[in-house]
């Protein structure tokens, strides 16, 4: 594995993705934990190693507006943000998708205020799940780089023509270095041909984009088109992934398994914590438990059919959400349930697990608890289990101390 690999953070891998894709225009606005991407690109452009125009705007709203409109001129656009920044520019996400501007946006996940935090969960990126963006969620720094290349290829395909978000977790990927293969530029150029826009803005040729529509039927017409185009992105991704694997070796899938083939107890995860999931699956296997993991890399379009096929016939399934839709529960859990409903041989037990919200550190014990719970549910015959919220005694002890400092509790009743 060592040949051609270097130690890169997720942020550096994202910058390499943009560089290898030959992004031409990069509107930027700093926010932790994304800023290192923009800093890296700025350095390369300044040193003449990358031929692109980088402009710092005055907000993420302006940044995304510039990104979308620039993409419509026919240049390849890259941009990046996190959390509050994504929400500040949120209005433009729906516009960019509606304009059919196939840019790539890297979101470095960070929990949303309040309380304000720097560490990751997926409420930020999942808030954008209905906007029309393709969403690819990375587990490793290598996937960050490779997904950016795949995202451009799929987004710019004439059967799709929609923007894409590549998501990586703050800290766990953004600031974490691990071996990453920087893909060969000539092979990337072959994989990713020049972007050719539909009716690009030109001084010499009139075109209006983003026109207002009067009448819901016209609105519906275009929304149906976008929906079908986004659904097509699934097959276009598979096609692109095959082409990618012929050039670079790795074959990516919308969903993929780890020790899944004969698994009876399956944990469904996405993003960087899937690594922790693999670790516990391995531990379970060493103890003779037929455990496995299903990783969802493509969140939009949602690969419902593949998920249902991968989960059918299993004894029990846990869906891990590093997000919380307040008043409902885990977002991915509910989408997976939707995918399973009506499928033959669907698993009877599907447990919702909430963990890692706000980047909460997860211990092995917490990950083991998921499988213990699945086995307990199977034994007891409970088919509609209550969600499992992961939390530890030592964390609560720390919180007691903090609450005492804050003056909201007088004396601990647990010490």
């Amino acid at each position: 594995m060592r040949h051609k690999a270097v130690m890169l953070t997720g942020n550096a891998a994202a910058a390499w993705g943009a560089r290898l894709a030959r992004a031409e225009y990069i509107p930027a606005y700093p926010i932790t934990p994304q800023t290192e991407i923009i800093e890296t690109l700025t350095k390369w452009i300044q040193e003449g190693e990358m031929d692109a125009k980088l402009v710092q705007l005055e907000s993420e709203h302006s940044m995304l507006t510039a990104a979308g409109t620039a993409s419509l001129t026919g240049v390849r656009v890259f941009t990046a943000t996190s959390s509050q920044g994504l929400l500040y520019g949120f209005e433009m996400l729906y516009n960019i998708a509606g304009w059919r501007a196939p840019l790539v946006l890297v979101n470095v996940s960070r929990a949303l205020a309040a309380p304000i935090s720097l560490e990751p969960d997926h409420n930020d990126v999942l808030a954008a799940r209905d906007s029309g963006f393709i969403q690819l969620h990375a587990e490793t720094c290598q996937e960050v780089l490779d997904f950016i290349l795949l995202a451009y290829r799929v987004a710019e395909d004439r059967r799709v023509m929609l923007p894409a978000i590549v998501n990586m977790d703050g800290f766990y990927l953004s600031f974490t270095r691990e071996p990453v293969k920087i893909r060969e530029q000539d092979l990337v150029d072959e994989f990713l041909p020049h972007y050719s826009a539909v009716n690009p803005f030109r001084a010499s040729r009139h075109v209006a984009k983003g026109s207002a529509v009067v009448g819901g039927h016209i609105y519906s017409y275009f929304k149906y088109h976008m929906h079908e185009a986004l659904r097509r992105a699934h097959d276009v991704f598979i096609e692109a992934a095959r082409s990618f694997s012929r050039k670079f070796g790795e074959l990516y899938h919308p969903v993929s398994g780890y020790m899944l083939d004969d698994a009876e107890y399956v944990l469904v995860m996405s993003n960087s914590f899937a690594t922790l999931g693999k670790h516990v699956v391995k531990l379970m296997r060493q103890r003779g438990v037929p455990a496995g993991l299903l990783k969802i890399s493509m969140i939009r379009p949602f690969p419902a059919e593949e998920i249902a096929n991968s989960l059918k016939g299993r004894k029990a399934v846990a869906v891990f959400d590093q997000n919380i839709s307040l008043g409902l529960g885990g977002i991915i859990y509910n989408e997976v349930l939707g995918a399973l409903y009506g499928c033959p041989k669907r698993p009877e037990i599907v447990l919702s697990v909430i963990g890692g919200v706000g980047g909460k550190w997860l211990s092995v014990e917490e990950m083991e608890k998921i499988f213990d719970e699945l086995k307990r549910l199977e034994r007891s015959g409970i088919t509609k289990p209550r969600p499992l919220f992961l939390f530890r005694r030592d964390e609560l002890t720390h919180i007691e101390r903090v609450l005492k400092l804050a003056g909201t509790i007088e004396v601990s009743h647990h010490e």
């Binding site: 130690m7 309380p115 600031f175 922790l276 005694r393 030592d394 804050a406 003056g407 909201t408």
Partner: protein, 319 residues
């Protein structure tokens, strides 16, 4: 205790890894400005240069000089299936001994039985009570003193990484030096400073003995608690006991202590104006009084004092 070039070094006796396959977890604790993140990267790169799998990452909050920072390096001979905070390190590198008393940093927390604790401390300072489990596997060295001598600054990323590399027993000097060069180049350090850092790294690497940890997986289990217990606590993030910042004293962030020579002080008030932390007040005669409980040792007063009435002195422990 073995005396090596003036430094007291206590050596662990067993040299083998119990866990199979090998996964070595190193946790660094220091303060913003020490080079904690860079130390973890140099170690990660050095291990990578050895042909091993490596992963390094820092954790920090609102960044500021002097605040506690931690960073992690994982080294393995197979793909690493862990991420983020290291709960159960095989080696902890404490880059500032004053952190040993910091309840939020807790640098020795979770160190596996048989794990190695490295502490950057002056040999002549009184040792802390490290506790029974640590004392057997302790390595100490005055990295700051050596850094001040060789590079002229209390930045200890390179020597901390060198200490950790040597302790592991699996990293060669040449892999370490390559890592020092590439990591410092990447963050824009000049060639002459890199040269001095290499001298520093070699000195530390050669002085410290190989003391690989012989750790076992801990039997202790962290207890999980249900949601019902969590939500039995107050749920608003209000702080009602306001004005408690003075409780968090920041004086032990200092490496150097500013000292006023009142015979030369002209009561011009420049130090008072420049102090970024309001740690200097003016007495009735107009001369400064430094609040050493909170002075972080930025030394702006020392640099700005027009009559050069402020001198500095290296400090080892504040409290």
């Amino acid at each position: 205790m073995i005396e090596i070039s003036g430094h007291n070094i206590i050596i662990a006796l067993t040299i083998h890894y119990v866990d199979e396959p090998m996964l070595l977890k190193v946790r660094f604790h220091g303060r913003g400005g020490h080079g904690v993140k860079t130390a973890s990267r140099i170690l990660g790169e050095a291990a990578f240069n050895e042909g091993l799998y490596a992963q390094d990452s820092p954790i920090y909050g609102a960044e500021r000089r002097g605040a506690p920072v931690a960073a992690f390096t994982r080294i393995s001979d197979e793909e690493i299936l862990e991420r983020g905070f290291i709960f159960d390190p095989d080696i902890v590198v404490v880059m500032d001994e004053t952190l040993l008393n910091d309840w939020s940093a807790k640098p020795l927390d979770g160190l596996k039985p048989g794990g190695i604790a490295f502490v950057n401390t002056t040999a002549n300072s009184q040792l802390y009570d490290y506790g029974e489990t640590i004392r057997e596997n302790l390595v100490i060295y005055d990295l700051t003193g050596l850094a001040l001598k060789i590079i002229g600054k209390p930045i200890i990323s390179t020597p901390s990484a060198a200490a950790a590399s040597k302790i592991t027993g699996i990293i060669s000097e040449s892999s370490l030096i390559d890592a020092v060069t590439s990591e410092l180049s990447e963050i824009g350090v000049g060639d002459d400073v890199i040269e001095n850092n290499i001298i520093l790294a070699r000195e530390v690497f050669r002085s410290i003995p190989e003391t690989p940890p012989s750790t076992k997986l801990s039997d202790s289990k962290r207890e999980l608690i249900p949601l019902e217990v969590v939500i039995s606590y107050p749920g608003y993030e209000d702080i009602v006991s306001v004005g408690n910042s003075p409780l968090r004293k920041t004086g032990n962030w200092r490496v150097f202590k500013p000292i006023v020579d009142f015979s030369r002080c002209t009561a011009c008030g420049v130090c008072f104006v420049y102090c970024p932390d309001a740690a200097i007040t003016l007495r009735s005669d107009g001369k400064p009084e430094i609040d050493y409980d909170n002075c972080k040792g930025c030394l702006i007063c020392y640099r700005e004092c027009p009559p050069r009435a402020i001198s500095i002195e290296r400090e080892v422990r504040v409290w």
